[in-house]
């Protein structure tokens, strides 16, 4: 599966798609990136006159790249145009270290811990443009075709 095909299989769209591209992907890990739009809807209220990307959105970005992209890659053989993956986030434990401002580009690196019985659990981290650690944690989800 090419990364182009993989991105087409993602079940998200604007304004809730937080993947721009996949830099590399294998059975055990994925690296991808996203640039937060200056005018994203959540900056209007988070915070008043002080736009900062909400932690829940950072977690979503990490889950979309780190869990869903990797999960689709792992299920590639079973997927086609009519067979879409069913996805559910089941747990996340996240620590945040630095703020992400409007327009910032982030890179997400995810390493598979386990993928068995349809459950994918990954150690995921997010880095900013200076390669500083923005957030890291453990995300789990159920994925099946």
């Amino acid at each position: 599966m090419t990364t182009e095909e993989l991105l087409h299989l993602l079940p998200y769209e604007d304004p809730f798609l937080f993947v721009d591209g996949i830099d590399n992907i294998s059975e055990s890990r994925v690296t991808g990136h996203y640039t937060f739009k200056q005018d994203a809807f959540f900056y209007e209220g988070h915070f008043k006159d002080n736009p900062i990307t909400p932690g829940v959105i950072l977690t979503e970005c990490m889950a979309q790249i780190g869990l869903v992209c990797l999960g689709i890659y792992l299920l590639a053989d079973e997927l086609n145009k009519t067979k879409q993956p069913q996805i559910a986030l089941t747990a996340s434990q996240m620590d945040f270290y630095l703020p992400v401002l409007p327009g910032e580009k982030v890179t997400v690196v995810s390493e598979k811990e386990v993928f068995r019985f349809n459950k994918l659990k990954c150690n995921v981290k997010m880095l900013n443009k200076k390669e500083e650690l923005v957030a890291k944690g453990l995300i789990s989800g159920m994925l099946k075709v």
């Binding site: 559910a88 089941t90 747990a91 068995r116 019985f117 349809n118 459950k119 789990s140 989800g141 159920m142």
Partner: protein
Amino acid sequence: MNKDELIAKLKPIIAPYVQDEEAFKNLTEDTDFVNDLKINSANLVDIILDIEDEFNIRLENEDMEQMLNVRSAMAIVTSKLNS
């Protein structure tokens, strides 16, 4: 390992994932993981993986499908330990 010893080993594995604490207090061999303890499918996988580590066994898809209550979990663990 007798039945009581086995239940005593299984209880701490199950405990972190239980949603119905009252049902867990009254746990018997007939206690159903999903219907009684309200454990979801994602956490059922965690329990399976923790059982594998605790007893140093390997469980397969068909074991997972059969593991509906405490009794079936004990039966599967016992048969794996004896095989």
